[in-house]
Point group: C2
Chain length 417, copies 2
């Protein structure tokens, strides 16, 4: 049978055709008026997409490069920083901060959970220079409460800057950088913006720009002040990834077009889209009598699923790949074999999601999962979609207790119809 390769991975994600075409056509030099016009527009659109009045800096690097830039630009050796971690990407903050000589305090939560805000409050010190966290922890499928952490910082009266890796959070969860008081917000290209890897971006608050003036850590390629000066002239400090920037421009145009040209509204629709795909998937997985790895605070970027007891999660990865060319991901590091992850961020639609659920049923059937019957997972996903389609106003509350424009987080909490 024909099998079309389809990525259901939390980066890279499926490519937007309009972005692919823009990338293929991007035969321009980066020190020309043509490029400056493109770059200026993309940086301006990125601000709207991020939802901030702050300047946005674009880098030719992976997301980890932007994470390093946040550490190296904001800290000095010997600075005290706090990392909130509950997975592989939280641990990356610890490694980065240590690599740049910081003294690192850590608030952690078990994999599959989010951390306790009260612990965050207690861990803050008067000398804490910066707090580093993820908006969504891609390795476990958890959504952290950025707004809750921002509030803890405000209420503490202490001076720490808040740095948020929103690489898989942007476009999958509501974030109000300026309203909440986030100082650095980080995104990546191969995520909800539907283009290949190779670009990262950082929105930087005025306070963070000021911090950079006293930071003593060495940086050159990732010197954000240098990039900001070049950006003001419509250029990048070093050779930019021109084709990817053209692709990003096309993708942002597409996202805006989803809401009649309103990019901010387009971002909100993108979040809703991921929430719908995620809610369909969670309902399907539970109908298969599989357990969600992060049932309390699930991210809409990716859903992490526990295999049946005694089964290696790689079996699902392999079967979906071999039989349907559907590419999902295993757990990372020591989570390998423990969970499998299905992505929803970016260019996914109903058809992708219901097809993946169908394929998952075929795999469950072949594996003879206990209690399996064809249709259980599909019907669960169908009901979620029908409910959400019929009542797009159905909302829920964030784990911090406030309505933040999130959709219902679990199928069980969907409104009765």
């Amino acid at each position: 049978m024909i099998r079309k390769t389809r990525l259901f991975t939390p980066g890279p994600t499926p490519l937007l055709p309009a972005a692919q075409f823009a990338m293929a056509a991007a035969d321009i030099h980066h020190r020309t008026a043509e490029f400056r016009a493109l770059y200026t527009k993309v940086l301006s659109d990125l601000k709207t997409f991020v939802g901030t009045k702050n300047d946005v800096i674009l880098l030719a690097s992976s997301g980890t490069g932007a994470m390093e830039a946040a550490v190296s630009n904001l800290t000095s050796p010997g600075d005290r920083v706090l990392v909130l971690t509950a997975g592989k990407f939280g641990e990356r903050w610890v490694s980065l901060a240590k690599a740049f000589g910081c003294d690192v305090d850590v608030v952690s939560a078990p994999y599959g959970q989010t951390f306790d805000l009260e612990e965050v409050r207690k861990a803050l010190r008067i000398e804490t220079r910066a707090v580093f966290m993820q908006a969504t922890e891609t390795s476990t499928g958890v959504r952290h409460c950025v707004q809750g952490v921002a509030d803890v910082l405000k209420q503490s009266g202490k001076d720490a800057a808040l740095v948020v890796d929103a690489i898989t959070g942007l476009g999958t969860t509501h974030i109000d950088m300026d309203g909440w008081g986030v100082d650095v917000l980080i995104g990546g290209s191969q995520k909800a913006v539907m283009i290949p890897p190779g670009l990262s971006y950082l929105a930087v608050s005025n306070r963070a720009w000021e911090l950079m003036e006293i930071s003593l850590n060495p940086r050159y390629y990732f010197d954000l002040r240098k990039e900001r000066k070049s950006a003001a002239k419509g250029e990048s400090a070093y050779t930019p990834a021109v084709a990817l920037i053209a692709a990003l421009g096309a993708a942002l145009d597409y996202i805006a077009a989803q809401a009649d040209g309103d990019l901010a509204a387009g971002r909100a629709k993108l979040v809703e889209n991921a929430e719908t795909c995620a809610a369909m998937t969670r309902a399907a997985v539970e109908a298969l009598e599989l357990k969600l790895f992060a049932p309390e605070a699930p991210s809409a970027a990716a859903t992490a699923v526990l295999p049946p007891a005694g089964m290696d999660s790689g079996v699902f990865v392999k079967e979906l790949k071999n039989r349907f060319a559907a590419v999902i991901t295993n757990g990372q590091g020591e989570m390998k074999g423990q969970i499998f992850r299905i992505a929803h961020l970016g260019f996914f639609d109903y058809m992708d999601t219901i097809a993946l659920v169908g394929a998952l049923e075929q795999v469950a059937y072949a594996l003879k999962l206990p209690g399996f019957a064809f249709g259980k997972a599909l019907v669960a996903a169908q009901n979620v979609f029908a409910s959400r389609a019929a009542d797009e106003a159905a909302r829920n509350h964030c784990s911090c207790g406030r309505p933040v424009g999130h959709y219902a987080l679990t199928s069980a909490s969907l409104p009765a119809r």
Copy 2:
């Protein structure tokens, strides 16, 4: 919600990415060694794909151009021909034959059915120059029995040439041109070979080449003998559609790669693929309590479905388009509003098919179809896929009574497991 446009139309069909890339890169002149190598390989591969030792002629035209070429090259004004028709494309043979001055006998069957072989036998005259038919009638979703007609011709002892429009038949139904004695077999590019419209091709038997020598109808652009002479030198008589030919080459490579490089086996796999998608769709439609328009001899190229009594079939076309960007087709001509059609020919896989069934359920739910419940159609499709996947040897018989390597034609006739 994001909606990716997906064609479920019986031409154009979804494009193969490798063919798209080949098309985009096809920046070559057509009177060069580079083109001659490409053209010679594509013509040779087309012979294997068609499954014939006969020469294959490639034209820069739609399928109708190749149909005209068959008429204008094989007949003279005043010739008696027989057309077997049960739909719009059968009627096109009548129009073409009349346009070129033939005296046309017609054996017809009602839309949604195939013609009676006994009637064909009776309608053959000693002077019948040629018999024209479809392998599959795309306008009604019917598969005709080419082998049965070929046998009637052989047994008649009469001399008529058999011309088969297999534009949607190639790659969706088993055809043995040389074994059965078909004289002209016609294909098109925007069908099972997964590339855009713009090319047609004809496989031509020795008897048909001989007939051309005595045919008096005027032809110039579609003069097949001229094309054959040019093809022997690796060129086309007139400017070829270079990019489409490059795309076709890539598509034939892909089809071969599905069977470890064996293009003939790849074609058989393509037929099986269409049969699986069609069987899933038929089972789903029947589970929705909708009626198949061609239940007796369904084509695997496309499935034609009757809407509930009193409902315009356009409602399904519109809902699938508006809500899911899934493009299916309405009935043609006076069949508009009477049926809708879902295609399976070419680059469709399990994921496409199950997703379309899911979307069809969502439409049925919104339309409040009587007896509807989520999962009925999906479970029917899932069971068909699981049965066929588990037992790829499950076969059935053609409507002519012989085993021809077809898969089971209806879900009801699937072997019990």
